[in-house]
């Protein structure tokens, strides 16, 4: 047996964590699931803008009758509004029809162009992408327990905290890459399909400030994904399985808005302070607080509010979300540290 040729790396805390991040990303890169999830994300991002372009084509080729709305506005109050050209309406001149068509086309095709395409891409990513991220991160976290590799890894030297930090960092890296990929691909697809509308991209919105807000908007989107990734890691660790991670986070993602609506509805029917209390609960939900942050940036990026979430201040949203992060990551850390690895 000859002398072994081992090249050791640096053993300080950050170096160990970085090496573990590299290991997590290496495993992800080699995993078929990552490729499948990535492909689905890319396909969905492109497909969304293809659908918008199809709507644009329909609008552009719609018959002139679709754009005649002048009669509707001329009908007497209380009477049934007419659809299409009525017998008593004068046929509008072609110039007016063309103007209406242009206005409709402008509206339909706006999501293909910046700045609206950024909003569409990010909002879509926050729905479809979140599900994909939950599946991917839930598999990373719970998979160690499901497969049993946690035993192998925890006997190699790094502390459990280092493994957890590495997993969170790796999750954030794939989230950042995923969000950028879905957004950039979406925007590019929009730009490529926009000529179908015949309306050119306007660059008036652009400024350094706008770019800064756009980056912040993207960052909030990433943090939104990361929250659900943290939830998936928490449930995956708690339940020691991939299924627990995925189901737990997806349940949270889907149940929260339903619960929010239900509480709002019940609050509306319940008079007094208890009703107010019920109505106030959704203000502490993850989704609503992220919507508030995105809406805050949206007014700089797209003008006006992009979501209907009212009355949640940025400070409130940031504090609430920090509490959620502290809760999920802290609890995961605690379980991770205290738990006996027996499987």
């Amino acid at each position: 047996m000859s002398a072994p040729s081992i090249v050791m790396g640096r053993q300080d805390y950050p170096s160990v964590v970085l090496r573990l991040v590299g290991m997590e990303l290496y495993k992800l890169r080699r995993r078929t699931l990552s490729r499948v999830v990535g492909s689905i994300a890319v396909t969905l991002a492109i497909l969304l803008f293809l659908l918008i372009s199809v709507a644009t084509i329909f609008t552009s080729n719609a018959p002139a009758s679709s754009f005649i709305q002048t009669c509707q506005s001329q009908t007497a109050p209380g009477s049934q509004p007419a659809s299409g050209p009525a017998a008593n309406c004068a046929t509008p001149p072609p110039a007016v029809v063309a103007q209406d068509r242009h206005a409709a086309l402008q509206e339909t095709s706006a999501p293909l162009r910046l700045p609206d395409s950024l909003n569409v891409a990010v909002q879509f990513a926050l729905i479809a992408g979140t599900i994909l991220i939950i599946i991917l991160v839930g598999t990373i976290a719970g998979g160690e327990y499901s497969i049993g590799t946690v035993r192998l890894m925890y006997t190699r030297g790094p502390t459990r905290t280092q493994f957890l930090i590495a997993r969170l960092l790796a999750a954030f890296i794939i989230i950042a890459l995923g969000m950028l990929l879905m957004t950039i691909l979406g925007i590019l697809s929009g730009q490529l399909l926009n000529p179908l509308s015949g309306i050119t991209q306007n660059g008036d919105f652009w400024s350094t400030g706008w770019a800064g807000h756009a980056l912040l908007y993207l960052f909030i989107g990433m943090i939104n994904w990361f929250m659900y990734a943290a939830i998936a890691i928490f449930f995956g660790t708690l339940g020691r399985s991939t299924a627990a991670g995925i189901v737990g986070a997806l349940t949270w993602f889907f149940v929260e808005p339903v619960l929010g609506s239900l509480l709002g509805f019940l609050g509306g029917f319940t008079p007094g302070p208890f009703g107010d209390f019920l109505k106030a609960i959704p203000d502490y939900f993850i989704g609503n607080n992220f919507s508030a942050l995105l809406s805050d940036q949206g007014q700089y990026l797209f003008g006006g509010s992009t979501t209907s979430t009212p009355a949640i201040s940025v400070m409130h949203a940031v504090l609430v979300l920090l509490v959620y992060f502290a809760f999920f990551i802290g609890l995961t850390w605690w379980i991770n540290e205290r738990r006996d690895v027996t499987n």
């Binding site: 081992i6 590299g22 497969i147 925890y154 205290r338």
Partner: protein, 356 residues
């Protein structure tokens, strides 16, 4: 002087557990365990299923926390200095498990990164070395999920050896291996031992342990029932097997030996009459094999001449079975109990000895 000896002992002691206890609710899996594994030992860790072997190994590796007691490895307490300890340890705990979607080589790249080795291709040569050592080089690029149980076991050994650790903990390393695979693992353990590695081997295969280990500990229901050098343990199980010319001489021989014991030959233990494979009666005498000639002389003095006389060393398996035999309330344990039982008429002659 005594202090120096104590320090030298501590330096040589690779694993030391002090009153190590683990309870899962009301079930005490490991109770008050004192273990000492010295540098260069090939230490066999034996016990029936559920005796607490794997729980102990998990406590050594920090996978589970003891309910009481402490583990000191390389002079460091594993409750506080676990990362430093683990860097000097390579381990297989139960059936090794790796990432099924990665190849054997990719799995070792991941293990290398987790073990503090430089990432990337810098350690490719070392990975190839260990794969060569466990004869998996040809299957290095095959996905782990396609590996047979034996291949998985060998990859586990490769991972344990990756960082060239000082201490190697092997929990059932020959599980799933064919006889030639087992032989290779034994050879590998011998080679590692020659290189000065300390090996902690948990196994059910007692013959395997007897062949490779110099010291053993036997665990029963979480309690340590024996710890010591293999030679010392076997000393108590040495026997002398005697076949006489005429079967009717058996009772006379039995009386002669009992009489000698009463007259002061206290090295004669239990004496049993058994039957060998050929159906011939034999005497099985619990006595050090060094006294074989004396037994022959005692019999010859009574005109009883041995047709065959075999000193028998005994086996770890017998020692193990005696020490871990289930006990009934009020029953004496271990060798003494077995020796007593050997004189009962229904027991004598039941055991078919195939040694003569």
């Amino acid at each position: 002087m005594n202090e120096n000896i104590e320090i030298a002992h501590q330096l040589d002691c690779i694993i030391s557990t002090n009153r190590l206890t683990k309870a899962f609710g009301k079930l005490v899996a490991v109770n008050d365990l004192h273990l000492e594994v010295m540098q260069g030992d090939v230490f066999g860790f034996l016990g029936p299923n559920g005796s607490g072997k794997t729980t102990t190994i998990r406590m050594l590796l920090g996978l589970i926390r003891p309910t009481a007691g402490r583990v000191v490895m390389f002079g460091m307490d594993n409750a506080y200095q676990l990362p430093a300890i683990l860097q000097r340890v390579g381990a297989i705990v139960e059936t090794p498990v790796f990432y099924p979607y990665l190849s054997g080589m990719d799995n070792l790249f991941a293990v290398a990164a987790a073990s503090g080795m430089q990432s990337g291709k810098a350690n490719r040569r070392r990975i190839e070395e260990v794969l060569e050592l466990v004869e998996l080089r040809a299957q290095a690029k095959m996905a782990y999920r396609k590996y047979s149980l034996g291949m998985k076991q060998r990859l586990g050994i490769a991972a344990a050896l990756l960082t060239d650790p000082e201490l190697i903990l092997l929990d059932e390393p020959t599980n799933g291996l064919d006889p030639s695979g087992m032989f290779e693992i034994r050879q590998l353990i011998h080679r590692l031992s020659e290189l000065g590695k300390t090996i902690f081997l948990s196994s059910h295969l007692l013959n395997e342990v007897q062949q490779v280990c110099n010291r053993v500990a036997i665990l029963q229901r979480g309690n340590l029932v024996k710890q010591g050098h293999v030679g010392e343990l076997l000393l108590g199980s040495e026997q002398v097997l005697v076949r006489l010319n005429a079967p009717e001489e058996m009772q006379a021989a039995l009386a002669t030996l009992r009489s000698a014991r009463e007259r002061g030959a206290d090295w004669i233990g239990a004496i049993r009459v058994e039957t060998n494979r050929q159906g011939q009666p034999i005497l099985r005498i619990d006595a050090p094999k060094a006294h074989s000639a004396e037994i022959n002389a005692l019999l010859a003095a009574s005109n009883l001449f041995a047709a065959e006389l075999h000193p028998y060393e005994g086996s770890l398996e017998e020692v193990y079975l005696q020490l871990t035999a289930p006990t009934l309330p009020g029953e004496r344990r271990g060798m003494a109990a077995l020796a007593e039982r050997a004189f009962l008429p229904e027991v004598a002659g039941e055991k078919k000895a195939g040694l003569l």
